[in-house]
Symmetry: C2
Subunit: 264 residues, 2 copies
């Protein structure tokens, strides 16, 4: 089936969030990210590739389509790919997925470990935070509605495949935290030393944006502020004057200390 | 002194590393980054700003130049700034600094804490690593020659001012590590649990690129491989399948554990 002009316009429109929302679809491009998501068994709805895509051997071609999963791969020309691509340099594969937003089940935050993102607008940071939640086997990630769009290519690329493995929910954060039975740890510059965390079987780790920190409504739900200790510059020693850590870096250190405190 | 065409060409050329090297100068643009570096007392050689730059009140204007430091600020028009700028959207201030490369003193790695970057090519990661070294008051950062250029705007922006505070050296890493008396900790996926680090007063933390890991010559100098423990997915638990952590995130967790093991 050759690509129609309307089909190309549809796929190209997905670079914008409003069109992704309207169509309920998102796009990822590139052999690395598509390969990572296929390896994580992400059920793509459509796959387009040129002959150059080495991964196409692993998925059935459209002509041979029988089942519905994995998505059949439609082989297109490099010229067609250039018309589909969202980038100046098209890659050999482009995949389309359905946007699925699982609602946060009531009481979910009471159980296990949650990483909550409060207004993290940098897509690279959001993707890195998904990867951190994946590494530390957190049970879920909750994003406030003003975070970078989970279904943007930059977020998915930075997550290195964790996008397909982590349960991510978008929810108004202050409301979701209301009545939460688990401790809510807010990453902050004036909190308790994170090295002294007790063993917690359930906890929510909340990280705010680098520029603005935690939003007031979310900060009001925090039950314990935690800080990664900074080391002061000693005479003759350079450093120790950094104002803050990158949001994802700070969250990762808190997650590591939380897991360490849980013990084996 | 109005900007000459040659002067504009000179400043614009600094977007490329070869021209930065030839002229021994680098450029940073933007109120945030210039403000951070001025706050860290970075001795800029030249400063250009439009009337819109709020920070200009803090530095003398060119017309009133008397000393050599801080650099006088030359007020230019928005149209001139647009011609100087390396970006499609020019900011209100552009600063020029001299490239200074302090050689790594012999035996320096034997003392205190060093963060060594082995082929980290992503400029955002290099900047974030400078910020991490600053936060944990490391004595120095050593970059292998194939890291992202320390004097590129992306590195300096991502360092959030730490560029001006951290002693950074570029040196062939395997040679610099030869005969190092301090333990050389290599961040790796198959090493000792970083939670079990002993108290070390001197150490070198080496982090490799995400794609390729430590280079063989550097890996041969590592005396102890350390790993941030990953948590395995349990039945019903999502996550724990991430292949790796972001290089800067992994390094930060190792630095935190190193400082924690040192005790108060």
């Amino acid at each position: 089936m050759p690509l129609t002009k309307a089909g190309i316009t549809r796929l190209r429109s997905l670079r914008e969030k409003k069109h992704r929302e309207a169509l309920g679809l998102f796009v990822v491009e590139g052999e690395k990210v598509v390969g990572e998501l296929l390896a994580a068994k992400f059920p793509f709805a459509e796959l387009y590739a040129t002959d150059a895509w080495e991964g196409r051997a692993a998925v059935p071609l459209a002509a041979a389509r029988r089942g519905t999963e994995p998505a059949p791969c439609q082989i297109i020309s490099a010229a067609e790919m250039a018309r589909l691509s969202h980038y100046p340099t098209p890659s050999a594969v482009l995949a389309v997925g359905r946007i699925a937003r699982a609602p946060l089940p009531p009481g979910a935050l009471d159980r296990g470990l949650t990483l909550a993102l409060d207004g993290i607008q940098d897509p690279g940071n959001v993707g890195t935070l998904l990867r951190i939640a994946d590494w530390f086997a957190f049970d879920r990630v909750v994003l406030s509605p003003d975070c970078a769009d989970l279904f943007s290519q930059k977020v998915i690329n930075a997550s290195m495949g964790s996008f397909a493995r982590v349960a991510a929910h978008t929810a108004p954060l202050a409301e979701a935290l209301a009545g939460c039975a688990a401790p809510v740890l807010g990453c902050d510059l004036q909190g308790d030393d994170v090295h002294g965390l007790p063993a917690l079987r359930a906890a929510v780790v909340v990280i705010g944006s680098e520029g603005r920190g935690l939003s007031p409504a979310v900060a009001a739900r925090v039950t314990r502020r935690v800080t990664v200790p900074k080391f002061a510059a000693e005479p003759g020693r350079i450093g120790g004057a950094a104002e803050s850590l990158n949001a994802a870096v700070a969250a990762a250190i808190v997650c590591d200390n939380l897991r360490r405190a849980q013990g084996p």
